[in-house]
């Protein structure tokens, strides 16, 4: 028996009609990556490089001197007040908007986004107009020896303003996508409103909640413009990390400025990592419903 040789089939060049030629593909990739390197990667590298330009000792000294520590404390305080408040607001707003049909709903949804479209400087200014010396409540506050502007309360208020939308705008679409059937089922089975919120709704939105909280926290700790207007820049007292960077920079203390800035850049990197993780979980939670 002789074997008949099979005809040699050379692998046909894999050509998909909906794909560009490799040449075009790599040009586009390179173009995109160069743009991103120039505008994203380079600044990121520069922060850490400039911060460590004079070595670790100078770096550590810059971030452990008393004014820097005071700035860290104030930044954490402002975030610790603003984030939980906006968290509660976000849950309440999302519950009302996602679970109910009522008139004026779309207007309310746009109003929640309002702080995003207001310049941070204007956000600071409006609090000065209310609580500042020349403001509405100014005389009354001075009489009672309460300071809000150029003091910690002003910084907290400005921080709250600029971070109001973060959690709500994350939760609203998520809860709308999940629908209300699970909550209705819980109520039919005899659960109270709080039991439903605690056992059904919150577990279902936990990753979205985390995602919004991470973004809210990043902005709360990093806010500059709004806080700058109300702070008064009193070293050791009303200086947040972001403002401290500015002060050091304007004093030509570049290494210290970049050292403090590198802390904030680290915070940004941690934020990006957590955000990426949470994002994947949110996608899972949206699709892995009963409908899958």
């Amino acid at each position: 028996m002789t074997t008949i040789p099979l005809p040699q089939i050379s692998p046909a060049p894999h050509k998909v009609v909906t794909q560009e030629s490799p040449w075009a593909r790599w040009t586009l990739i390179l173009l995109a990556l160069s743009f991103l390197s120039l505008f994203l990667l380079l600044p990121l590298v520069a922060v850490f490089f400039e911060a460590l330009r004079k070595g670790w000792e100078v770096y550590l000294a810059a971030i452990t001197e008393p004014d820097a520590l005071a700035a860290i404390r104030l930044t954490l305080t402002a975030a610790a007040i603003a984030v939980p408040l906006n968290l509660i607001f976000g849950i309440a707003a999302a519950w009302a908007i996602a679970k109910f049909e009522f008139r004026g709903k779309s207007i309310l949804t746009s109003l929640i986004d309002l702080p995003f479209s207001v310049s941070p400087v204007v956000a600071g200014l409006i609090y000065v107009l209310i609580f500042g010396l020349q403001g509405w409540a100014g005389p009354w506050l001075r009489e009672h020896d309460i300071s809000i502007i150029f003091a910690v309360p002003g910084i907290v208020l400005a921080t709250i303003f600029v971070t109001v939308p973060f959690i709500a705008r994350e939760l609203i679409p998520l809860m709308q996508a999940q629908g209300s059937e699970e909550e209705e089922a819980a109520i039919i089975l005899g659960a109270s409103g709080w039991q439903t919120l605690w056992h059904i709704t919150l577990p279902n939105i936990k990753w979205g909640l985390l995602y919004g909280t991470i973004l809210c926290n990043a902005r709360a700790m990093g806010e500059f413009g709004a806080v700058s207007v109300v702070s008064g820049h009193i070293r050791g007292l009303t200086n947040t990390l972001s403002l401290h960077v500015e002060i050091l920079y304007n004093e030509y203390n570049f290494v210290a400025a970049f050292a403090v800035a590198s802390l904030l850049a680290l915070l940004a990197l941690v934020t990006l990592v957590l955000k990426t993780l949470a994002e994947a979980k949110v996608a899972q939670q949206t699709t892995r419903g009963n409908h899958s």
């Binding site: 909906t18 995109a32 109001v164």
Partner: protein, 277 residues
Amino acid sequence: MSTFKQHSVLPGFNLALGFTLLYLSLVVLIPLSAAFIYSAKLTWPEFWNAVTAPRVVASYRLTFGASFAAAAVNAFFGLLVAWVLVRYPFPGKRLVDALIDLPFALPTSVAGITLTAIYAGNGWLGQYLEPLGIKVAFTPLGVFVALTFIGLPFVVRTVQPVLEDIEKELEEAAAMLGATRWQTFRYIIFPAVLPALTTGFALAFARAIGEYGSVIFIAGNIPMVSEITPLLIITKLEQYDYAGATAIAVVMLVISFILLLIINLLQWWVRHRSTKA
């Protein structure tokens, strides 16, 4: 209560809506209205003079001009980046995707001093650009660079999901009808992402107009040349010219509101597009 709210068995509507409205009013709406009420202290000619002084007008020109240019550059590169991220596999793609949001996460003062360090005359790139006659830091060009940085994620993040949703069948159909790749992009893909692209552009533009932190370090803040409008508000405030500062703030607020309205309409357009198909 008639038809204000549709019936639902879920409890907590009054509590949730009540708290939402109270919080929003106290934190956002009442303070914002303060700006409008305060500006009413000025007579109309006073207001008009405050917001049309030559230095102010120059700042508008810079703010809007640089914001527009930055948003336009971001529209182009944002579309390109979104395209590359959605369509092509390449090493390190997930890392790049995560890094896109850096401008959202990085405090603006950090961005400001870093960009300055890069583009100053003796800086990382500045030392090479300066001999070529390109001055970036402390010029309007620097403002443009800072605004490009902070607006970068908007276009990418609005276009990306739309590109992901485009049905492959549409492109295959176009190819089978004889369209070249470029024609397919021009007549099929581009029209589909146009609403999202416009939305991303508008978002980047709106953000750039109000931006302060990342700009003031690199701008040099020379009156009539590289002074942005938000900085002018702060300058007036530091001179205790509350009325003048408020007048400019009101102009900016009105523009923000108009942009917000436009963005809402655009987003409606995007949704409408995607549900119609």
